[in-house]
């Protein structure tokens, strides 16, 4: 029985991590793209394009206003088209990435907006191109804030994997629901919850230490 439990947990954790890592990677890439686009295309931005800004903003708000569970269902045909199946963890990665990207876009946007306009002006005054301003000023200056925001986002994605699990994606979420809710195996449910808590703690701790080490380097006293 013990072995059985451990095996179930291990399998669940493995699937959750698989979904979490890949969804986070794709969602962060998409989110950075969206967030940067929002910031540089807004009024007074380094690549001002207000129509683009409106469209991206509207698209983000539309996706964000859908409950995730509905979004997954909507994206099933797309997932099948991309990965060949609409079931299991791999299909869930498609939905998770697309579902989380708009939220990431917004938090990237707000982290980048914290960069003082004076620094961007300084960069412009030295003849920096918009591309150089994005990659040499905006992103590096916002780095500690970005790391903190992305930590929150990865935790949110971990929560979403559980939701995806509820409708057949596998992972810890599915374990908790299949055994705990449907078969009244409270021991499994309880163990799953512990593993999820530890997972979230680990993510938070990792994000915090990275952000702290960046801050410490930038503000160390000699």
């Amino acid at each position: 029985m013990r072995d059985d439990l451990l095996e179930l947990l291990w399998e669940g954790l493995r699937q959750t991590l698989y979904m979490l890592v890949w969804s986070s990677v794709f969602a962060i890439v998409l989110g950075l793209f969206l967030g940067i686009t929002l910031v540089v295309t807004e009024k007074g931005g380094v690549l001002e394009a207000r129509v683009v800004n409106r469209i991206v903003s509207l698209a983000i708000n539309s996706v964000r206003s859908l409950p995730f569970i509905i979004l997954i269902v909507l994206l099933l045909p797309f997932a099948r088209w991309v990965v060949g199946t609409s079931l299991g963890p791999t299909a869930a990665i498609v939905s998770l990435s697309i579902g989380a990207a708009p939220f990431l876009g917004r938090i990237v946007e707000s982290a980048l907006k914290e960069v003082a306009v004076g620094k961007i002006e300084a960069a412009k005054s030295f003849g920096a191109s918009p591309f150089a301003i994005i990659f040499r000023v905006l992103l590096p200056e916002a780095l500690p804030a970005l790391v903190r925001s992305l930590t929150i986002a990865v935790i949110a994605i971990a929560e979403l994997t559980a939701v995806a699990g509820a409708i057949g994606a596998g992972g810890l979420g599915s374990l908790a629901i299949r055994f705990g809710y449907q078969r009244f195996r409270e021991d499994i449910m309880f163990a799953t919850v512990i593993v999820i808590i530890l997972l979230v703690q680990a993510i938070q701790w990792t994000g915090d230490s990275i952000a702290k080490s960046i801050d410490r380097r930038r503000h160390r006293t000699e």
Binding site: G118, G127, R217
Partner: protein, 261 residues
């Protein structure tokens, strides 16, 4: 060296159009160190930001040497900006970069190679007396040191013109003097044309050869610093000098005849 003709710039504000610059004319000779003085809201920052087109002028022309900046396309403007250094009141250093990488920034975006960058950065850091600080981050520096980094960064690309918008206004008097001295020093050594925007007489007195007085978006008076203090003509100049005059009279009253300046 710098020739500005009929420069106008208006801002749209909730309460209507605000004419920040109003057909402004100004000529600055090569190698000069000129102070542009005016009260708050006179249009000083708008003027200096129009010179490198951080602010897009509505009308008028700006030329530096043979380059007419107002006619340039984006990519040409970026090239031209590399020869116009700018120093800011709030320093605007990159907090995520060391002193070295702050100063290297203009060279990196210009595509210089590593060896050239190292050589140039070390030279200018030496020039601003921060040779030992290249590995520090801006948060570890004092205000005066930060502004020295700002100046080094503005000089690293060997510009023809250095624009300073209230470069010493965030600093205490002692630090202000040392920065002004540095600017004079640089002006002499590098034969650089320097434009100092200010609302402080100290800056004129300690750093400038010539002065232009700005009032409601127009240059209302130009001439040497001596002339400015001895024979102020414009309203603004008189109001500035009046303050000095007031204390000179006071001192005269206290110490009696013979109290010189």
């Amino acid at each position: 060296m710098i020739s500005i003709r009929g420069l106008s710039k208006a801002y749209a504000t909730p309460s209507g159009k605000l004419q920040a610059l109003d057909g402004l004319n100004l000529t600055v000779e090569k190698g000069d160190i000129i102070g542009i003085i005016g009260f708050s809201g006179a249009g000083k920052s708008t003027l200096v930001r129009c010179i490198n087109r951080l602010e897009e002028p509505d009308k008028g022309s700006i030329a530096i040497g043979d380059t007419v900046l107002t006619g340039l396309k984006e990519s040409q403007l970026r090239q031209a900006r590399r020869k116009i250094g700018m120093v800011f009141q709030q320093f605007n250093l990159f907090e995520g970069k060391t002193v070295f990488h702050n100063v290297a920034f203009p060279l990196k975006v210009a595509g210089c190679d590593k060896a050239t960058i190292r050589k140039r950065v070390c030279e200018v850091l030496e020039l601003v007396q921060l040779g030992d600080k290249e590995k520090a981050y801006p948060s570890q520096l004092s205000g005066g040191q930060k502004q020295r980094v700002g100046i080094a960064r503005a000089l690293v690309n060997e510009p023809d013109v250095l624009l300073c918008d209230e470069a010493t206004s965030a600093l205490d008097p002692q630090t202000t003097y040392s920065i002004l001295e540095l600017l004079r020093d640089i002006n002499r050594k590098l034969e650089l044309t320097v434009v100092l925007i200010t609302h402080e007489l100290d800056v004129l007195q300690h750093a400038c050869n010539n002065v232009a007085v700005i009032e409601q978006g127009k240059i209302v008076e130009t001439g040497s610093v001596d002339k400015f203090f001895l024979y102020p003509e414009s309203d603004t100049a008189r109001r500035f000098v009046h303050i000095v005059e007031h204390y000179r009279k006071k001192r005269f009253a206290v110490e009696g005849v013979g109290a010189g300046i």
